[in-house]
Symmetry: C2
Subunit: 204 residues, 2 copies
DNA sequence: TAGATTGTTAATCGATTAACAATC
DNA sequence: TAGATTGTTAATCGATTAACAATC
């Protein structure tokens, strides 16, 4: 089986999100044209992307929304619920620990950590903050494969190393620094300042 | 002047972030090779990207770190401080209002809004939460051009419309929905669930 | 000088789009 | 049937990389 380009994979969650939103609004079918207008992607590209994985549409009528949602969930492996660990209970980690937006999208925060003794044992949402020193055994014992890093930049690489040691294979990094990880570990970056700087170039 | 591709612009903030980090660590010069290893981008690409804007390096020695930082700040228009408005004071808006990571990166949160009467008038960080009904005149009067949307999905498009009406030209959208805005308004999306879904495809 | 590294060219590689037969 | 829309092909478009003369 040939490898699907990552740029295609990166668009699938956007399709899935839009389809779920359409479903909530009562749509039962949609077309590549309609979907493309909603999310600003050309109809041809949507059809080409989806065709990498199968024939999900019908000529003349388009795509069945619940069916395509199910297929995309299977493709992206979010037809299950992944446990996620959050490291760093500052404001951002706190917000992620309580984030409602993971519901029905394949994720559930399962444990949260901080290295500050003053925070360890405190409650955040449904969780008791655990000591960061127990991170590796706790994550390994729970079989957790996904983590979010919300610690300061200077601590992020060390945390990433420990997560790798604990068996984590996917990291969502909120710390403003590029991480070094083995090739089989995936990293995505979220940095609001970078998001803003990508736009100020166009402002005068 | 020919238009620089957006994909190049989108890498510049990453270069800038890495250079600032190198500077903190005491580096005075770096090379495209060294920088590329830190951030996982090929040296040729870094040189090609930078060459769109001028000749910033020296053969044999590479780039002067403070000089390149200054140039990138000028290019990205973050050689100043932009005032930013935050709409929606849930956990995420709260975290952004108090976010320390904007400092020295060209941004300062200047005002925050919520539509919940129970929250209006409360304090978050250094700010008093303002009534969302005053959003348009307040943003317009302050000349604010950048905003972050942290409201629920079903309210986000309406908020975006008001921001456009108020003169905002750049929106960082944390709501899990694609926004429709005029062509001269820029939008960047931050959605942790999408970040995670881009990785679970590769996990089994 | 010798070694290192830039900026740039040309070649390669990959992604997007236009167009259309197939068919619901 | 007529209209709509898919999946796919081929053409176009754009981005990345390799290589190297220039030069610090």
């Amino acid at each position: 089986m040939r490898t699907i380009p990552d740029i295609i994979i990166s668009r699938l969650p956007v399709y899935l999100r839009a389809l779920c939103y359409l479903q909530e609004q009562g749509y039962h079918t949609t077309s590549s044209k309609e979907l493309g207008e909603k999310i600003g992607i050309s109809p041809a590209q949507i059809r080409k992307d989806l065709s990498q994985f199968g024939e999900f549409g019908k000529q003349g009528t388009g795509y069945n929304v619940p069916f395509l949602i199910e297929k995309l969930r299977q493709i992206l492996h979010v037809d299950r619920v992944w446990d996620v660990a959050v490291i760093g209970m500052g404001d951002m980690g706190h917000a992620l620990a309580r984030y409602q937006g993971f519901t029905n999208r394949g994720f559930r925060v399962a444990m949260v950590f901080d290295s500050d003794p003053a925070k360890v044992g405190e409650r955040v949402g449904d969780f008791i903050i655990q000591d960061a020193r127990e991170m590796v055994p706790a994550i390994r014992a729970a079989g957790i494969r996904i983590a979010m890093i919300c610690v300061p930049a200077q601590a992020a690489q060390e945390v990433a190393d420990k997560l790798v040691e604990a068996g984590v294979k996917a990291i969502l990094n909120y710390a403003p620094i590029s991480l070094s990880v083995p090739a089989d570990v995936h990293v995505q970056y979220i940095d609001p300042a970078i998001g803003l700087q990508r736009m100020t170039y166009y402002l005068d």
